[in-house]
Each structure stands twice: as C-alpha cells, then as structure tokens.
C-alpha cells in the first residue's frame, strides 16, 4: 500500500494534463477566485467545506476517478442547508442566500458530468460575481471580478471547443474578444438604462456600509473608522458651532438582545414610542449640507433639527421624515449627491418630561448576558451616596468611573466574546466609542435609568477647505442618551470622558498603517503621500463616474447632448432609439454581407450563367480550365476564342503572377464573345 500515492495523484505538469482534467482545474481555480472575497464574511464552516470539496474535486480530476454518487452530493447539500439555518437562522436574506449560493456552486462541481451541468455552474458563477458587489464596490473588487468574469467566459468557450486541445490562452483570447465586442452595448446600456428606485422593500441588510445601518454589533463602527472617504460637507451661514456641539444624529438604538443593538420597531405592538417633543433653545445655526451618496435612507443632520417648514430640509425628489427619536430618514436610499439647507438648534431639550410607560423599553436588558456588570451596578446602587440619586448624578458617577477606571481608547481592541460588556467594563477596558456607549447604556439601565445608544457622526476635519467643513466616514461615532425626569433625554458621551480629544478637537484616530505602508513610509514618506494621493484621485473618479452614476447624472448627460429638460422617458426613448439603430445597422450589414462573396467566386458564378445559356453544363467545382475543355468539346471551332479566354482566366487566377482581384476588362471581353456565340447559335 502506498498511502501518499493514493491520497494525492502525481502532478504531471500543466502541459501534460489531459484536456478534461485541465479544463476542470481551470474552472475550479476560477470558482475559487470568485468565492475568495466572500470568505471574510461567510461562516467559517462554509469556507472550510468549500475548500475540502474543491480539493476533492481537483483530486478526482487529476486521478481521473469517478464522480461521487448523486445521493452523497444531495446529503451534503442537505447538511449544508441545515448548517446555514443554524448559523443564519434563516434560508432567506442576503447572508444566508450568499452562503447557500457559494455552497451550491462548489457542490455542483461534484456533478460536472455533462455540458449542461457545466452551464449551470457558469450561470451560478455570474450571479456569485454579482453578490460580491453587495459587500464592496471598490476598484479592487471590480478588477478582481473582471478577472472572474473573464475566467468564466473562458471556461464557457473551452466547453464549446470540442476538438483537440486548445490552449487556455487561445480560449481566453477569444473570450476577451467577445467581451470587448460586448463592451459598447454595455456602455450604452449603463449610460442610458433608466435608473429607478428599488422595486420592493429592501431587506434590512441592504446598506452597503454597515456602520450606520441601524444595527450595532461590536466592531461595526471600527470598519467605518478605517474609511477616509467623505460623508458630507458643511457650509455654515454664520457662526460655526463649537466642536463639542458637532453631533450629527443617525439611527437611535434602543433594543438590545445581548449581541446586537437595534432600532425600536415603529410598527411593533405595545406602547408607541414617546413623542419627539423637541424644545429648541437660543438661536438656530443655519448651514448647507452636501451629502455624498451613502446608499442609506438616512440624513445625518446636525443635532437637533425640528420638523418645521422653516428648519427641515427640502430636497427635490426625496421625502425626508423625522422619527420620534429625532433622527431623519428618507423614503429611499440616497444614491445621488444631495445639497440642501437646514436650520439646527445646538441647544435643545427633547423627550418626555414625565415618566411614561413607553420609556420602560429603554430599561430592558436581555437576561443571561453580562451578569458581572449587572452585579457591579447593583453594588454601586448600594452605595448610600447613590441610593436615591437622580439619573444625572448616576451618569456623572459612571462617567467618573470611566475617566478614572483605567480605560483606554483604541481602534484595535481585539475580539470580544458573548459577555462583551463584562469583558470590556471589568477586564480589558480597551475599546472605542461603541464599546463605551454600549457599556454606559447597559450600566445605566442596570441602575434603573432609561438609556439608549445614538449613532451618527461627531466632529469635522480640523480646518475648513474652501469654506467647507468636511465630515468623513471615519468621523462615525456612537454616544448615549439617558432620561432625566423634568428634562427628558440628556446626551452623554462616555468616549469624551476617556478621550476628550476625540470630541473636542475632532481628531479621529487613524488606523495603524499596514506593513507595506509602514516600510514605504519610513523609506520615502513623500512617495507614500504621492501614491496615496494618486490612489485617492483614481478612487474619487471611480466613485464619481461609476458608483455615483445615477439618474441625475443620466439626465445631465442628456442635457449636455441637447435635450431640453430631459426626463426618464427621454432616456428610455434614446436607449430604444440607439438599440434599434444598432439592430438596423446589424441587419443592413447582414444583408450586404449576404451579397458579398469572394470576387472570384462571384465572377465564376456569372461565367457559369453565360456558359449555361450556351448549352454547356458548368458545375460549381469546375475550374476555368475544365470549362474551357467543355467549351471546345461542345462548340468546336467557333468556341475556340471563348475557350482561350477561359484558359486566360485560369492563368489569371492560378498561374504565375496571378492577380488578387479579377480584372473587369477580362469580363467585358468574355461577355462580348459569349454574346456573339449566342447570336451565332440563334441566327
């Protein structure tokens, strides 16, 4: 027994692989490349299963072994579906859907028997490429997926080259050419296909950027903190509010299940949420906001903007609404850059002054989570100083604890487990805004004070550029609000207690640079800056021209083309017009091509016609020589001249110094001679 040899067949070298094995391995490589970007957010078991199955399939291809039985594959599919339900709690929705798609795709390779099976893989593959864009649409992902599409098309071409052993390079070239030919159609459709809103309600997880999507799980905002792209720009009418007031309100998270924080479901049964009851104080701050496309249905306005005709944002084509928790939403995800004017009161009170039943849900803590933190809070409560203290006093005490308890603000706090708050609050004490805010809220609730998390942005770049204050994704922040009888909701930013810089000077923490950047930075900081600038410029173009291309840009394009006040109907008309023109051109070309022949072929057709008229049988495969012989046989002496002309044609076509195209003079001579013979025959 040779275990090593039986476990893995010998690698014969790429050039010596049998065609079948080579094509299968190529397809496996393409599938692996397409699945790879998904691995970061797929459950670990799924990645492991994919790896095992693909190695198994590769081994089968190399050893030319039989494929596993269908029942085994079905059993694995059922097991994988069960695992998906266990990890995702559903088979629907984005995460579960992508998991299942990846699994089906990989398992289908075990069934690659016939060409039809192969086609299923290709179509699943194209869809899988699309799902990658749900997570990221950066230039890098686009380039990687372009490789995937090319690979899939190449494998498709290979499947339709049944003869011999065409090289991958050959098939790849042909696939690339087909894709290039298709590129003009793509450009026209991309530019002119009318962009419409989602056709039906989007699932909760549709947001491309997860940070402000209305859910919070430890680690979410850290993703945003690494994102230096611009969220919005501000230009203030008058005085610029101080940095401590620069809170831009996003979703307010009130429900906590032990792992995730979510927004209060406005349609849930039970008590309706307490009314906003916004009570602005002092003079308003007017400003103009330029919001970059966020693909979220959210307006992160400066806290607080009342829902009055004078203050609220008015945006064409978008309906903006204020939730009772004061944050502003829109009726559709924002894919255009928007510009609008708003009034905000940075001094305000809000929320019910008296206790309400509705506030009870802001006291709920999931049982079984973070027991040590609850015990810590109970102990604080037993302190006689705080026995009957007001929420303000309690909040002050908790913030004091954060300030003096040895907490550290860091963007790289490491992974937290099930009792994340316990771990953070009592053991590791390292985290950033979301850890501080979440722990603060849990502790306040444990102290019987209604409290909730507010997500949004905090702060701006240090200095305005061209009069615009820039807020970046890295300014994303989470803070807390607790309820004080008589005043309503009160903002408390526990992060400010430990890292006052973060709030007062609006300095966001930059993530640590990677190894390459570090090395490059120490060698030539200037080059690094230059490269970063160039890359940012390219990315900016990409964002503007490709990702930011929307109905507004479409209509702008039409306007530049000279259409007066265009709308989407003009867009459709133009698209239909262009496509029909293309189709007509294609049909016209086909018609022309139908009559296009090899000039020699056409000439021979005419020669045959004339000869047939003279009663000489001329078949298509006979060269002029043979026809000349036939003429001599049939017509004898009178046909001598005609036969000589045919022999001349033979020399023109095939002889020494043959010409590329038949000469019109020859045809004239031949036709005249043929006509003379016909007259002779009839007369």
């Amino acid at each position: 027994m040779k275990p090593a040899a039986t476990l893995w067949p010998r690698w014969p070298g790429w050039k010596h692989l049998p065609r079948e094995a080579r094509d299968t391995l190529f397809l496996l490589a393409v599938i692996g490349w397409t699945v790879m970007p998904h691995l970061s957010h797929l459950p670990a078991w799924c990645g492991l299963l994919c790896g095992i199955v693909m190695l198994w399939r590769g081994r089968i291809a190399l050893a030319n072994a039989p494929l596993p039985s269908r029942w085994l594959v079905v059993a694995v599919v059922i097991a994988a579906s069960a695992l998906t339900v266990m990890t995702e709690h559903t088979l629907l929705g984005k995460e579960a859907g992508v998991t299942m798609l990846v699994l089906l795709m990989v398992l289908k390779t075990l069934e690659l028997r016939a060409r039809r099976d192969a086609l299923v893989i290709f179509f699943l593959g194209f869809f899988l490429v699309l799902t990658n864009f749900l997570y990221s649409q950066t230039l890098l992902v686009a380039a990687a997926m372009l490789v995937s599409v090319w690979g899939l098309l190449t494998a498709l071409v290979l499947a339709h080259m049944p003869v011999g052993q065409p090289t991958i390079r050959q098939a790849g070239g042909l696939a690339a050419r087909a894709a290039l030919l298709g590129a003009p159609v793509m450009v026209v459709l991309f530019l002119l296909f009318p962009r419409i809103g989602p056709l039906w309600g989007l699932p909760q997880d549709a947001g491309a950027k997860t940070g402000l999507s209305g859910e919070l799980r430890m680690g979410n905002i850290a993703e945003l903190a690494t994102d230096e792209s611009i969220a919005f720009r501000l230009r203030f009418d008058g005085e610029v509010p101080p940095a401590q007031a620069m809170y831009f309100r996003g979703p307010v998270l009130e429900r906590f299940d032990g792992v995730e924080w979510r927004q209060r479901d406005p349609f849930a049964q039970g008590f309706p949420p307490p009314a906003a009851e916004l009570r602005p104080q002092g003079a308003p701050t007017g400003y103009e906001m330029t919001l970059e496309p966020s693909r979220l249905a959210l307006l992160p306005l400066l806290d607080a903007t009342p829902d009055t005709a004078q203050a609220a944002p008015r945006i064409e084509g978008v309906r903006a609404m204020q939730w009772p928790d004061l944050h502003w939403v829109t009726d559709r995800p924002l894919n255009d850059r928007l510009r609008f004017h708003v009034l905000a009161w940075t001094h305000f009170e809000h929320g019910p002054r008296r206790g309400e039943m509705a506030l009870r849900s802001d006291l709920e803590l999931p049982p079984g989570y973070n027991p040590r933190t609850l015990a810590w809070a109970a102990q604080l409560r037993q302190d006689p100083r705080y026995a009957n203290a007001s929420p303000d006093v309690l909040a002050g005490a908790v913030l004091q604890h954060i300030r003096n308890g040895g907490f550290t603000y860091t963007l790289a706090p490491g992974e937290y487990g099930t009792h994340a708050v316990d771990e953070f609050w009592l053991d590791r004490r390292r985290g950033f805004c979301e850890h501080f805010a979440a722990s603060f809220v849990v502790v306040m609730r444990a102290l019987d004070v209604p409290a909730r998390i507010v997500t949004g942005y905090q702060g701006t770049d240090l200095a305005p550029a061209d009069g615009y204050w820039v807020v970046r994704q890295s300014h994303a922040h989470a803070w807390a609000e607790y309820w004080q009888p008589g005043r309503g909701w009160v903002r408390a930013d526990p992060t400010a207690a430990v890292a006052p810089d973060r709030v007062e000077r609006s300095r966001h923490l930059a993530p640590r640079p990677g190894i390459v950047a570090q090395a490059l930075g120490s060698w030539s900081p200037e080059l690094l800056t230059q490269m970063r600038k160039g890359w940012e410029a390219i990315n900016n173009r990409w964002n503007q021209w490709v990702l930011g291309y929307s109905q507004k840009q479409q209509l702008g394009l039409l306007e530049r083309l000279g259409v007066q006040s265009p709308n989407w109907e003009d867009l459709s008309l133009m698209l239909i017009g262009l496509l029909s023109t293309g189709a007509l051109l294609g049909a016209g070309w086909a018609w022309w091509d139908r009559h296009r022949q090899d000039p020699w072929q056409r000439l021979m057709g005419r020669v045959r016609e004339r000869l047939t008229a003279l009663g000489i049988e001329a078949r298509p495969h006979e060269p002029p020589r043979t026809l000349a012989a036939a003429v001599r046989r049939r017509l004898g002496e009178p046909g001598h001249a005609l036969a000589e002309q045919l022999e001349a044609l033979d020399r023109l076509r095939y002889g020494h110094g043959a010409v590329a195209k038949p000469q019109p003079a020859w045809w004239r001579g031949f036709a005249a001679e043929a006509a003379r013979l016909r007259r002779l025959a009839s007369g």
């Binding site: 086609l119 179509f123 194209f126 869809f127 490429v129 699309l130 864009f133 749900l134 649409q137 992902v141 686009a142 997926m145 071409v157 499947a159 339709h160 080259m161 049944p162 003869v163 011999g164 042909l174 087909a178 894709a179 030919l181 298709g182 590129a183 159609v185 793509m186 459709l189 991309f190 296909f193 989602p198 056709l199 039906w200 989007l202 995800p333 894919n335 490709v546 990702l547 930011g548 929307s550 294609g586 086909a590 018609w591 091509d593 139908r594 296009r596 090899d598 020699w600 072929q601 021979m604 298509p620 495969h621 060269p623 076509r653 095939y654 110094g657 043959a658 010409v659 590329a660 195209k661």
Partner: protein, 351 residues
C-alpha cells in the same frame, strides 16, 4: 413524430436544392437561442432585478457586460458557419446493412482549393490574393458539428462529428449512414451545427447532397457453397500449362488485376508488372443463376447470388450471372465483380 410536423419538414426540405457543394451564406444558416441561452437571459434578468433593488452600479455594469457579450456571441456563432463550403466526395458503393462512409470536406472562405473541388496540384492563387482573402473573409472556426439528420434519433443522442476549420484552410469529416436495402440511395439530409463560442445560440444549416450511394444486396450469411461449375476447354489449356519448368501463361498487368494474380517473382526479376493469364489460371466457368438458388423469395435469392459472386471472385473463378431479363457473360476480375454486384443491386423483377 407527429404527421403535420413531418409534412412540414418534407415540404421545407423539398425547397432545398440538391447539390454536392453547399456554400453557407446568410440565406441558408438558421440561428436560434439554445435552452442555455434562455436560462442565461433569465439569469441576466434576475441580476438586473438584484442590481435595481440593491442599487448596485457595478451590478448594472456586470449585467450589461454579460448582455452585450451574449448578444455579440450570436454574431460570432453565425460567423462560425458563414462562408464555409461543404463538399461531399463521391461516395463508394457498399453492401446493404453496412455503414456507407461519407467524406465531407469543409473549405473555409478563401481556401486555395475553394471552388476547384479536391486539391489539385499547381492550382494556387498568388500569395497576394491569398493574403487579401485571408484578411478579409477568413478566420479560424471552432466546434463545428456535422451529422446525418435522422428524425428517429433524439437530439442528445445524435452522433456528432466535430471539426475545426483553420483560416483559409479545410477540414475533413467522416460520417456514415446505413442503407437498409439494396439499390440506389440518395445521401440523407446532412446537418452542420455550431454553438461556439458560448453555447447561447445554435446556428445550423441543412444540406441535401445530390450524390447517391449504391447499395449492393447484403451477401447471405453464412455463405452457401458455390454451385457446381462446368469445365470449358480445359484440356487444351492444361497441356500448355504443363510445358516447361517455368510457370507459363503470363501476360502484362492490366488494371483491375488483384495483387494475388501478380507474379511477384517475375516482377522482381524483370521490373515489370506481370499477371497470371486468367484463361490458364481458370479452367472452369460458372453460371450463377437466379433460378438455381432454390429460394422462394427474390431478395433472399439476390443475397445468395451476391455471396456467390464474392466467393467466385475470391476463388478466381470466371463466373457469369443470369437474372430474369439480364445476363452477364462469364468473366472475372475487379471490373466484372463490380458490374455483377451493380446488376444485382439494381435488378428489378419484370412486371
């Protein structure tokens, strides 16, 4: 097959010209999406919906790129066939029930042999003419399948023969069909098809070759021994054969002499092809008679006669053939055998 479809097909096929040289143009290539093509379209539809609902601009890019490539693949599929010329080499005669080989030469546009039938020495267009044609109308074509169209066979079971045709070159495909009965058979309708490059479209052409295949009667198996032969002028000839030590009765080689009849010793000595003289080698002659087969049925009699003709030819015995209304005088050799088989193949009983 339902009768209306069959009549429709018959009518449609009857419209096609009978020709041994079939040039594929816009007019005789048909193209439709395959089932895979429809599935592709549905996939793209779902991808477009996903792009709209998740507002993915890159999703639009991907969907439209695939749509454009798919659309262009229609053109590429059609182009794979357009400009080809299919040429059927004159088929050989076979015995009924045996596969008749069909040799089909596929010339690409601009092929040097185009329009001139089989390759002929000395017939080449100039290099310049060649280059013009290559650049303009010729390209390498992949994955062209040819088959004999048979209504009784489901689409997946068709025995395709796949070929690639190089630019301005040619390729040969070997097909076959089985004539069930003796007689002259039209070559069945042939079909050339391609799904290259993506399998989303299927382009095909239907070709009715003009050539006919002669099917001899199937020889009876197991063979029955030859009927008794009558000696003819044996004595005189035999005496001549006994004279001298050397083999006598040789003559110059004639076309149709089998290798067995060539006197190789003499060939080696003189350098000229010489054969045994038939009149000497055969001392008996044989009449193969329709009436002498002692079988009730006409086709069975013809089968037995065929087997006898073959046996007699193998044995080198001069044999004549006597059918009602036809008589072939005794002789032997390749030409005679062919004539005898041909007579058997085409004989029809008098009414």
């Amino acid at each position: 097959v339902n009768p209306i479809a069959r009549r429709w097909r018959a009518w449609w096929l009857a419209r096609l010209p009978l020709t041994d040289s079939w040039t594929l143009t816009q007019g005789n290539i048909y193209i439709v999406p395959t089932r895979a093509g429809f599935v592709y379209a549905i996939t793209l539809g779902v991808m477009l919906l996903a792009s709209i609902n998740y507002q993915l601009n890159l999703g639009y890019v991907l969907t439209f790129l695939l749509a454009g490539s798919g659309l262009m693949s229609m053109h590429l599929t059609h182009r794979t066939l357009r400009g080809l010329t299919l040429h059927l080499r004159p088929p050989q005669a076979v015995f009924a029930g045996e596969p008749a080989p069909l040799e089909i030469v596929v010339y690409s546009a601009g092929s040097t042999q185009r329009g001139a039938g089989p390759p002929q020495a000395g017939l080449r267009p100039s290099r310049r003419a060649d280059a013009v044609l290559r650049g303009r109308v010729s390209h390498h074509r992949h994955g062209i399948g040819l088959c004999v169209q048979d209504e009784g066979v489901s689409y997946d079971d068709v025995p395709w023969v796949w070929i690639d045709v190089p630019a301005a070159g040619q390729a040969t495909a070997h097909l076959s069909f089985v004539p069930a009965a003796r007689g002259l058979h039209a070559v069945p309708v042939l079909r050339a098809e391609t799904r290259y490059p993506f399998g989303l479209f299927r382009a095909w052409t239907v070709w009715r070759p003009a050539a006919q295949v002669l099917a001899y009667p199937a020889p009876e198996r197991p063979a029955v021994p030859l009927p008794p032969a009558h000696a003819v002028g044996g004595e005189a000839l035999r005496s001549r054969a006994s004279e001298g030590g050397e083999l006598e009765g040789v003559r110059a080689y004639q076309r149709g002499d089998t290798p067995r009849r060539i006197v190789w010793k003499k060939v080696a000595r003189s350098g000229e092809l010489v054969s045994r003289d038939t009149r000497i080698a055969t001392q008996q002659e044989l009449w193969l008679d329709y009436q002498g087969t002692q079988l009730p049925e006409a086709e069975a009699r013809l089968s037995r006669l065929t087997a006898w003709v073959l046996a007699a030819d193998r044995a080198g015995i001069a044999h004549g053939l006597r059918l009602p209304g036809v008589e072939l005088s005794p002789d032997q050799g390749e030409a005679h055998r062919r004539e005898a088989l041909r007579t058997l193949a085409l004989w029809a009983p008098a009414r």
